[in-house]
Symmetry: C2
Subunit: 189 residues, 2 copies
Amino acid sequence: MSTAGGFVEYPVENVHRLIEPGPVVMVSTFDGRRANLMTNAFNMPVAHGALIALVLGPWDHSYEALSATGECVIAIPSVDLAERVVDVGNVSGGDVDKWQRFGFTPAPGAVVRAPLVMECFANIECTVADDRLVEDHGLWILQGERAWYDAAKRGAGEFHHRGDGTFSANAATLDLRHRMTKWRYLTGD
Amino acid sequence: MSTAGGFVEYPVENVHRLIEPGPVVMVSTFDGRRANLMTNAFNMPVAHGALIALVLGPWDHSYEALSATGECVIAIPSVDLAERVVDVGNVSGGDVDKWQRFGFTPAPGAVVRAPLVMECFANIECTVADDRLVEDHGLWILQGERAWYDAAKRGAGEFHHRGDGTFSANAATLDLRHRMTKWRYLTGD
């Protein structure tokens, strides 16, 4: 397994396991000059593996960099970072260097020029796979190319935006793998 | 406010609050003869309000009914129903009447012919808004037309698929509305 920025590689065929729970994520981009960071909770898996849909529109400062480069990193923060992650979502990268302001550290990935976020427990390097719905809906289909993981940073795990400025942390995990009779191939290691 | 099936109406402009946390949902369809029910965790809001993306492909029995009618209901179950909801996702509606088998009760909605699911705490009546990515990705853009809610049935709230047959329940809610300075219009009642 490779490493990048102190992370171990996460199997790209299992990236849906990171996105399917509906996490608040951060999106990192690089416009050729500066790296930017934004917060996003409009995302989902499109297929098992690493095909991901993400809504990011012209109202976001990161839109230009994503459009120009066709690349980004989706980083998943644990709930311990919730306050700083929300703060990242409440200023524009046009005005401030959000990495510096909110204490996030860029690290080079393996495939795209947008940086990984060291403080997050997972980072997915993505390229644009389908932009047909970008103009009308700001909806990008992204292909995860490589993914990076740090189990120790996962802590209490991802968190979820309730759409109104309140967020849910995760409680206990229910293990219902024995009932997933139709989907055995999804439940193994 | 209207009522349907014992639910009160939920403001359709706030439907993203139901979808944004990344819930496991059930999708109800009606093919003109029979209602079907399936389980889904590939969904997200596309815009604030009730524009929703949902992945549902030809591999799902419900695909034909959704394609033919352009209508469905997205129903959100509480974690108390997790085992039955997982079971719904592990048999095909081509083989069994899942409503009867798993104890879910259809109720008429206001706009679409697909039934609401009485046991769920929220039901969103949807029509197809954009099907350009259906052929390649099974990705539907749905417009929520009306939504229905039962606070008492919400219980411990929605739950999240971790993509491998394990599921997260919600723990405490973090109230970070005071930090959502850029998004005041989202945080009010």
